[in-house]
């Protein structure tokens, strides 16, 4: 054996020792199991698809159908004769369906001006940590409202398009901690027909909302929509809501106090007339029931 070969042999021995010591370093089996996911996505920024009145960045889960029952009662300051508003109510019945994890559609019917609505919500960005670092979740929400009241003036030519109104929103939310989530909601509402010539066809508003967990099962939710368009802000009030999410085992109930009678976006953001300071406060609630139409793949074979 010459020197060259000896050097080679020495080198191989070093390699061998290195390989075996690597194996020995894994004496604790737990070390073999370090397999953290590269990116962790934030979940449950809000408990439901609504903060209280307005949309949150949450969607119904893929394959889930959600049946919504929403009530806003009359004004508390109407006194005992109206049973503090409970004698009257604005009601909306709605369905939402999660087509994928990032896309959902909804339909509904609200008693306020006998309005039907159709909507779509899509996740654009998801808050995450790790390989992909994203500080906020962003979703788009859009709806069409169809007012089906009989036309006031039957003498003039009335067009179907006059019944339509539209909402476009960007939902920008961040879950700061397990207890605190905040959302900004730039909103653009378009009405094809308005009552007077000076009324805004286009209404811009900026919404801000948040949820603050009081316990694992109860949270305090606040929501405010600031109207930016001049004429509308002169004639109408900004919508402000204080609410609670209460989770009881499998369901979430949302109870709230608001100055808005309307339930869909074009009504509560652009056409709120109640004034909190005068006591024009409505009690309201949302309840929903979820039906799993398409089960997760882990459940398809066994049942």
């Amino acid at each position: 054996m010459n020197t060259k070969q000896l050097i080679k042999l020495c080198w191989l021995t070093v390699c061998f020792i290195a390989i075996t010591s690597v194996t020995n370093a894994q004496d604790d089996l737990m070390d073999l199991l370090n397999d953290e996911p590269a990116t962790t996505y934030t979940y449950s920024t809000f408990k439901t698809t609504r903060i209280s009145l307005g949309q949150s960045v949450e969607n119904p889960a893929n394959g889930n159908l959600v049946f919504d029952i929403q009530h806003h009662f009359g004004r508390i300051n109407e006194g005992a004769y109206e049973f503090f508003g409970l004698d009257q109510a604005t009601l909306r019945l709605g369905l939402q369906y999660g087509i994928t994890d990032w896309l959902s559609v909804g339909i509904g019917r609200s008693s306020f001006e006998k309005t039907y609505d159709g909507s779509v919500k899509a996740k654009i960005l998801r808050q995450s940590k790790g390989e992909i670092n994203m500080p906020v979740s962003i979703s788009y929400f859009g709806n069409i409202g169809i007012n089906t009241l009989k036309f006031d003036d039957t003498l003039r030519t009335n067009y179907f398009s006059s019944r339509l109104s539209f909402t476009n929103q960007l939902l920008i939310a961040r879950k700061f901690s397990n207890a605190v989530s905040l959302q900004l909601t730039p909103t653009f509402i378009h009405r094809n027909l308005v009552e007077r010539e000076i009324d805004d066809n286009d209404v811009w508003a900026l919404g801000a909302g948040g949820r603050f967990k009081l316990s694992n099962r109860v949270s305090l939710n606040l929501e405010y929509y600031y109207i930016l368009s001049k004429q509308t802000s002169k004639d109408f009030q900004d919508s402000f809501t204080i609410g609670f999410d209460i989770e009881t085992g499998g369901h979430v109930f949302q109870l709230f106090l608001t100055n808005s009678r309307g339930i869909i976006e074009q009504h509560f953001i652009a056409r709120t007339t109640g004034d909190w300071l005068k006591g024009d406060i409505h009690f309201g609630f949302n309840i929903s029931r979820t039906f799993v139409l398409i089960k997760p793949k882990e459940f398809r074979d066994n049942n």
């Binding site: 191989l12 021995t13 073999l32 893929n62 889930n64 997760p296 459940f299």
Partner: protein
Amino acid sequence: MKKLTLVFITMFAIASMATAQKYVTKNGKISFYSDGPLEKIEAHNSQVNSAINTETGQLAFKVLMKSFIFEKALMQEHFNENYVESDKFPNATFRGKITNAQKIDFTVNGSYEADIEGELTIHGITQKVSEKGTFTVSNDGIKGDSKFFVKIADYDISIPGAVTGKIAEEIEITVNVMLKPLGAL
């Protein structure tokens, strides 16, 4: 030079034998069931990390809680957020040892009953457990199966007042892993 190649091959053989004593998987399955008067709870996790050292009889499991899939998304959310608090305690782990290792020959194909003792950590709480399991050795690797019960109260998981007594206090856990020799992955 021929000699040298032989030495090299021998070294590699020894090195790979050393690793063959460890078997691992990244997609083991753990499911749990509980059949309470109000809610039937069922969840599946098919991304379970597990390893076994056949020489020492040591076992390890690491389970990412967020990977449990429930039939109802709302239930899954509540499981993570309120019950096991996955943000604070992302993993459940088990470190243990086969206590009747002398009766199991992992080099011979066949089915073996195993007594396993160790520490189970869920929701940040560690409890000593001893359970039975089955190892089935085949040419494909080592299959491990076990079924046991866990008391929710042992792991400081609080059940809201409204549903106390309506969901079961014990849940049945089914473990099913197919372990492959380390390095063969």
